[in-house]
């Protein structure tokens, strides 16, 4: 398979970037999208050119490192799939593929397709936890959690923090990410004592990082590789109101 790639190249956070054309042959349908980029990079090194930088690690859709805008879609055309799980069989001979980094003020580009998503860590540090020191825990089965609640919390907790929701949102809003964490912990009894501080802290930090607000477009949900749902944003709003009005 032959492809034409248009890839965003940018030397550093403060230098301007642009799309550069690359032609690549010998792409096989079984290759993953990132393996296709590996092949391109090996070729670039052989020519003495600087290879393209992109974030990736586990390559099985769980670490949340990979982050590419592929033809305008966060993580590419398939639903519920991270870039690393996208395979070239989804593309056709002579396709043109545009590859860009996540775009958000809160995610500055470090180089080429790599961005800095540490804003997410700072949001977690502002409240995305249950304060329990090591050794403080009670016997596990003394806290009963209904099967459905545990599963619903697990669905929210499945977020991999990749930032596709931010990249897909026209406002670069981090609401889906924040809501997934709030939702995970607010549903569990263990998370109740701190629920008000948690949601307030996380939302304040989210605003402070320069993410936009939610316009309820649903683009985040469509882009999410773990299919985190908009219901979580509803729950976040509810938690925030509850925290402000009741407690």
């Amino acid at each position: 398979m032959k492809l034409n790639l248009k890839i965003w190249r940018q030397k550093g956070p403060s230098t301007p970037g642009n799309l550069v054309d690359y032609d690549i042959a010998d792409v096989t349908p079984d290759m993953s999208f990132l393996e296709m980029l590996d092949v391109l990079n090996v070729g670039l090194v052989e020519k003495g050119e600087t290879p393209i930088e992109f974030d990736h690690d586990c390559r099985e859709g769980i670490c949340g490192s990979c982050s590419l805008m592929i033809n305008g879609n966060a993580h590419g055309p398939e639903t519920g799939t991270a870039t690393c799980q996208l395979h070239m069989r989804r593309f056709k001979e002579n396709d043109t593929i545009v590859i860009e980094p996540w775009r958000a003020k809160a995610f500055p580009v470090l180089r080429d397709l790599m961005t800095d998503r540490t804003a997410f860590d700072r949001i977690i540090a502002a409240g995305g936890f249950i304060s329990v020191n090591t050794g403080n825990a009670a016997e596990a089965n003394s806290i009963l959690v209904g099967k459905n609640i545990a599963e619903s919390a697990m669905d929210a907790a499945a977020c991999i923090g990749c930032g596709a929701c931010v990249a897909a949102c026209k406002n670069s809003s981090a609401m889906l990410f924040v809501s997934a964490k709030v939702s995970h912990l607010a549903q569990l009894p263990q998370g109740h004592p701190e629920r008000s501080q948690r949601v307030r802290g996380m939302v304040t930090q989210m605003d402070h990082e320069g993410f936009g607000s939610c316009s309820n477009t649903g683009a985040c949900e469509a882009a999410c590789p773990k299919e985190i749902t908009l219901e979580n944003i509803t729950r976040l709003n509810r938690e925030m109101l509850r925290a402000s009005l009741i407690s």
């Binding site: 550093g12 296709m36 930088e53 800095d116 825990a137 099967k147």
Partner: protein
């Protein structure tokens, strides 16, 4: 002989005894101690959070963008704990025994017992953190079974247990970052260990974004930098997983123990072509309901659905009726290899066997199977484009974990005072083969419940002189790191480190993989020597190293893998017995099982770096509580 500092007394009391003997640091004085933690996976994050909670100043370093991206996140199946919630006869003693036996009697008894002991606390801690473990309808915790055991003691959160446990540890870590008791350095890679008066006092790091080399000093260094399976290039490890932190510590004098013990996981998605960059694991939990088979006739090219029941060989059930599909990983992997060697393999490469869910779907219904394994089935389908609900999965063994690692004593301290090694980076608990769902257990046991005590004991008992950044040895070590980077730049060749890495991986897999023998290992050593030579003549790295460059990162890691690969072969050559994941062709029972040599090899082989030839130290292994025997899963 190495001193493992195991406390005296009966095994049930050893840990309690040690905790009491330990020296303590007054809470007000803890602030004055800085502890450096390298790695932010389960072991690193849990240790860092626990130490910061106690009041120490902690600095955490990770080459990842965020601690949450550490490779612990990819663990799927679960975490073991001797809770006996299923009332099926489990106990601390049974978990201890299963782990020792699973490790083919090459683990240190006292460590394993402690692991089993604290396993129950881990579950409590994780539940309190909000880890959404699977539950029964009544709200209590659910369990499933895993390989090498006959009880149900594995706790799980769908097929993403590692992710959930890591997020638990990560959130505790981030809480301390928010409280300013932990300073987090992300995208920083440790490139050397700073020793002063023979004690570990700091590290040298490269900022992966700016290329800046800096040194950081403290009173103790904790390495929780994971395993080195990527020496095989193709493994289930994440792409960036590497041996560099541990290897550079080895080069500074820390002993590397049992480097040849590698675990080959039986259920991975087979290689599809030369471009393959990594392998994907299918959780061992699938063997609870999946049945492994090959056609009875060699070269049978029919689609699996057309092969009738009586033409299939469910070989694990046939060979090991007691454990069936749930034999330990090394046993299952070798059996698959044997089938493929006999020409019974399936798929286009003939290097695969079937893992079939037909029977489970008929028994439980598709929805129940979906509930248990949906994300794994989906992952399989994405990669192979085949629907495992309709057609059996094709699986083949792949390198997954290393039991070997830096040598540590009972307190998890290496032979270098002040250097603690946790998680997969150390060698201590799994012997020659690790049981499923035990890696998560060990990482968290080390981090939450062992290291915080041991480090306090070390700091409480040592008088450490102040160490200054602008003086030797800090300056000299930093200089050495810079020189190494310069040496890569001087080569100006035309091969990427990855190209060489791929070739190293092939050598390792062919000669030091699922089975090893003397002449092959010798050949591997000479081939690696030649490859090292080639590396130092043909490597390409960018001339500008003051910026983000993954080529520069890989160059350093591959140079370490080349040296480590050689040591693995040396260790495998030295160990003239078969045990667990280390299978020497020369040493096997008539039906192809591992044959240990307890008279000559009941020891830990700990290697000391030497510019000429590594020097072997031994730690004797004695078994007082687990009755030593030939493993039998029949």
């Amino acid at each position: 002989m190495l001193d493992s500092k195991i406390p005296s007394g009966p095994i049930e009391n050893k840990w309690t005894e040690r905790k009491f003997e330990n020296k303590l640091v007054n809470p007000a004085n803890r602030r004055k101690h800085t502890i450096i933690v390298v790695g932010s996976g389960l072991a690193g994050a849990s240790a860092a959070a626990s130490l910061a909670e106690q009041g120490y100043k902690v600095k955490v370093f990770t080459y990842h963008e965020s601690p949450r991206r550490a490779h612990s996140i990819a663990a799927q199946g679960g975490i073991n704990a001797a809770k006996n919630y299923q009332n099926d006869g489990d106990s601390v003693h049974r978990l201890f025994y299963d782990t020792i036996k699973g490790g083919d009697y090459r683990a240190r008894e006292a460590n394993v017992y402690r692991l089993a002991e604290v396993s129950v606390n881990i579950i409590d801690q994780c539940v309190a953190q909000g880890v959404p473990f699977a539950r029964e309808y009544g709200g209590t915790l659910a369990n499933r079974s895993f390989g090498g055991t006959q009880v149900s003691r594995t706790f799980y959160a769908k097929g993403q247990t590692g992710q959930q446990l890591l997020i638990g540890a990560y959130s505790s870590l981030m809480r301390q970052v928010g409280e300013k008791s932990i300073e987090l350095f992300s995208r920083h890679e440790m490139l050397d260990l700073i020793l002063s008066d023979g004690k570990a006092r700091g590290i040298v790091t490269r900022n992966l974004v700016t290329g800046e080399i800096t040194s950081h000093t403290g009173d103790a260094v904790v390495l929780a930098s994971g395993g080195y399976s990527n020496v095989f290039f193709l493994s289930t490890n994440a792409k960036a997983s590497n041996a560099t932190a541990a290897w550079r510590a080895y080069k500074r004098g820390a002993y590397m123990a049992n480097p040849c013990y590698t675990q080959i996981h039986p259920t991975c998605i087979p290689v599809s072509g030369d471009h393959q960059s990594k392998l994907t694991l299918m959780s061992e939990s699938l063997r609870n309901d999946g049945r492994v088979w090959v056609p009875k006739k060699a070269g049978d090219d029919r689609a699996p659905a057309q092969i009738a029941e009586n033409e299939r060989d469910y070989y694990l059930e046939r060979m090991y009726p007691a454990f069936g599909n749930l034999v330990p990983r090394d046993v299952a992997s070798r059996a698959s290899k044997r089938m493929c060697d006999e020409g019974l393999g399936v798929g286009s490469s003939k290097l695969a066997v079937y893992l079939d869910f037909q029977e489970a779907i008929e028994r439980l219904g598709e929805s129940k199977v979906k509930e248990k394994y949906a994300n794994l089935f989906q992952m399989y389908e994405k990669i192979t484009d085949e629907n495992p609900y309709k057609t059996p999965m094709r699986i083949f063994p792949a390198v997954h974990y290393v039991m070997g690692g830096l040598w540590v004593d009972y307190n998890l301290m290496s032979n270098i005072p002040g250097l603690f090694v946790l998680g997969e980076a150390n060698f201590s608990d799994h012997g020659a083969n690790r049981l499923g769902a035990s890696a998560l257990m060990q990482g968290l046991a080390d981090g939450y419940f062992v290291a915080p005590y041991s480090i306090g004991n070390y700091l409480g008992g040592e008088k450490l002189a102040p160490i200054k950044l602008e003086q030797d040895p800090v300056k000299a070590t930093t200089q050495a790191v810079k020189e190494k980077i310069e040496s890569f730049k001087k080569i100006k060749g035309n091969q990427s480190a990855e190209t060489i890495h791929r070739r190293l991986g092939k050598i390792m897999w062919d000669y030091c993989g699922m089975s090893r023998e003397e002449s092959g290992l010798k050949e591997a050593i000479s081939k690696i020597g030649a490859l090292k030579e080639e590396f130092s003549n043909t490597l390409w790295v960018p001339q500008d190293d003051k910026c983000l460059s993954s080529e520069m990162e890989k160059a350093g890691r591959v140079s370490d893998f080349l040296e480590l690969g050689e040591l693995m072969c040396i260790d495998a050559l030295e160990r003239k017995e078969s045990c667990g994941g280390h299978f020497r062709e020369e040493m096997q029972t008539p039906d192809g099982e591992t044959l240990r040599d307890d008279t000559h090899f009941s020891h830990v082989a700990a290697w000391e770096f030497n510019t000429e030839k590594p020097k072997l130290h031994k730690e004797a292994l004695t078994f007082e509580y687990a009755h030593i025997a030939q493993r039998n899963y029949k």
